[in-house]
């Protein structure tokens, strides 16, 4: 299923394919026509992809086929051992994590996990964690500290789950605790916003020494739909809310909320996951190398300084 703004591109692509098929089977020379259409396609792509609105980027961030946490682990890491459960209440499939090797060294990874289809999405609760998911993440943070290994978190959630069971089991409390636990890591901590960075449910695993973001990911205090429902009293005004929230990677870089934007191939990571993941690998590798030089005390101080400086106000 193409995204709304991808439809004209898809149409042109299928028209070209049709003509090429016809030319091959009939022997009629259509090379001029096909060349013309290819040029038009290239222009259309560059116009569309160079001028993506914030709302279009939000759709790319949610596109089926966009690399998820498990895709990143499978493609960029080896020896992955998934670890499950919070040792307190249950297992939350909305959050995955475990041990792996990245460029030969052991790392501890955790991330929100979306499903690849409806069935898996239901099992994973559309990557909206319950408290158990955050407790699992904290358990993995403990492990990173205990073994002195870097902690890498992949953010991709519409938000923490807003439901009765989550509230009963202290959703707010575990998010606060997870923020605090991650802030206290004595090892390098890197957070990468892969797709959706929905509010406190994202930040709970977002307290990295460095926070990286994929070019078409979004990260904000609320989803554009919920923001629109509150401020415009109409969720259909989500496109306006997306503009107002300045939730894209370039916006967040300008605000200092993220440290580095990882480029995606034209039109988004879902159009060429391999290329996107290669860029992610390079960014992760450079970031871990930089942080690897810091002592535990320096890492704590670095993380404090990074978040201490965020916010804008006037001295009274």
């Amino acid at each position: 299923m193409p995204l709304e703004f991808e439809k004209p591109i898809e149409e042109l692509e299928s028209k070209i394919a049709e003509l090429e098929g016809f030319a091959a089977s009939s022997g009629v020379d259509l090379s001029d026509e096909i060349r013309g259409l290819r040029e038009r396609l290239a222009r259309l792509k560059s116009e569309t992809f160079a001028n993506l609105s914030r709302w279009e980027r939000v759709q790319i961030a949610r596109a089926p086929g966009r690399p998820t946490t498990l895709d990143v682990i499978a493609q960029l890491m080896t020896d992955f051992v998934e670890l499950s459960g919070d040792r307190t209440f249950g297992e939350d499939a909305a959050v995955v994590g475990g041990l792996a090797r990245f460029e030969g060294s052991t790392v501890v990874v955790v991330g929100h996990q979306k499903g690849r289809d409806t069935k898996e999405n239901i099992r994973r609760n559309f990557a909206m964690p319950h408290p158990e998911g955050y407790r699992k993440a904290m358990r993995l943070m403990d492990m990173a500290d205990r073994f002195g290994r870097p902690f890498i978190a992949f953010i991709d959630t519409p938000g923490a789950y807003p439901g009765i069971s989550a509230e009963e089991r202290g959703q707010a409390w575990v998010i606060a605790q997870s923020i605090q636990r991650m802030a206290r890591l004595r090892v390098p901590a890197v957070a990468v916003v892969l797709g959706e960075g929905g509010s406190g449910g994202a930040l709970a695993i977002g307290v990295g020494n460095r926070v990286l973001i994929m070019e078409n990911a979004w990260y904000s205090v609320i989803s554009p739909e919920s923001c629109a429902a509150i401020l415009w009293r109409d969720a259909r005004e989500a496109a306006k809310a997306a503009e107002a929230l300045k939730l894209t990677a370039p916006d967040l870089l300008a605000l200092g909320v993220v440290d580095r934007v990882i480029p995606e191939p034209d039109g988004g990571a879902h159009r060429n996951p391999q290329a996107a993941l290669a860029n992610l690998k390079q960014a992760l590798s450079e970031t871990l190398a930089e942080l690897g030089a810091l002592s535990p005390e320096a890492l704590l101080e670095d993380r404090y300084r990074r978040f201490r400086g965020l916010g804008q106000f006037l001295e009274g």
Binding site: W173, A183, G200, K246, V257, Q312
Partner: protein, 282 residues
């Protein structure tokens, strides 16, 4: 129209209803209460003990030892994103400032509480529903850092609809900033008491408010992560009676005690006295 909406909103949120100027009506039992009596009773209904919302300045009078409070909050909000919804954020800010009579949704400073040197920070629901943007986050962070420096306890009265949408990601980052600051306090063994009042939800609950050594909640206060309306929309079911109220939180192990406001000062002072390393005797 706007006025009417404001009035309706206030009522729904459980504020004292204005009958004639001198009288208020309890939103729970409908008792007519002489306003002076209500104030003397710390905005608790003398008939049914319903806890009405209390102005931030009255909170300070209630908690700080008489004459000890010295205000330190002074930051003013700005508009980092150029946020416009149905009206520009700066215009909203002007209105909130007029309504609340302060620059943003927090007031605080140095004081003693039962003789214990403290930093007292009180959120103000009258300003944008107590929402947390850069100013609230920075004032709380500075208050905590100052407490750590001056060997003071920290008491924070939370009341908030959550992080402020108009400062978007920067509001979200205040959750991390305030949480990180708490470690400076803890390293010096200084106590932090969090008081959750009606309502405390969203990013405020999910950061500094939930991370205190001792957490008290006022009776009947709505406390949670997601607001009840959002939860109802998500699960498409009615919510159980008492859901997300202080007593529900106590039952589920999230708060230490539900404390009647008329006993709150004594209770806070007692905890600070037990935990603060250098209690000053009055």
């Amino acid at each position: 129209m706007a006025l009417e909406r404001l009035f309706r909103r206030r009522r729904a949120q459980g504020e004292a209803r204005d009958i004639p100027e001198l009288w208020a009506k309890c939103p729970k039992c409908d008792a007519q209460i002489y306003k002076k009596d209500l104030e003397h009773n710390l905005y608790v209904c003398p008939k049914c003990s319903h806890h009405l919302r209390m102005p931030a300045s009255k909170r300070i009078e209630m908690l700080a030892d008489p004459g000890s409070f010295e205000e330190t909050t002074r930051l003013r909000p700005t508009d980092p994103l150029g946020f416009v919804d149905t009206e520009p954020y700066p215009k909203r800010l002007e209105r909130y400032q007029r309504e609340a009579g302060r620059p943003d949704a927090i007031v605080g400073g140095r004081c003693t509480i039962g003789g214990v040197p403290s930093i007292l920070l009180v959120m103000d629901y009258a300003f944008a529903g107590g929402s947390m943007g850069s100013v609230v986050g920075e004032e709380i962070t500075r208050g905590i850092e100052q407490a750590a420096q001056e060997e003071r306890a920290v008491v924070i009265v939370a009341v908030s609809g959550g992080a402020r949408m108009q400062e978007a990601a920067l509001s979200l980052m205040q959750m991390a900033k305030t949480t990180l600051a708490l470690d400076r306090l803890w390293a010096r063994r200084l106590p932090y008491v969090s008081i959750l009042t009606d309502p405390t939800t969203g990013g405020v609950t999910a950061s500094f408010a939930a991370l205190a050594d001792v957490i008290f909640a006022e009776p009947g206060a709505l406390i949670g992560f997601a607001g009840p309306r959002v939860i109802k929309q998500t699960i498409r079911q009615e919510l159980p009676e008492g859901f997300q109220r202080a007593e529900f939180l106590l039952k589920h192990g999230m708060v230490d005690q539900v404390v009647d406001r008329r006993r709150l000062k004594a209770q806070v002072a007692q905890v600070l006295g037990l935990l603060h390393p250098a209690r000053v005797r009055l």
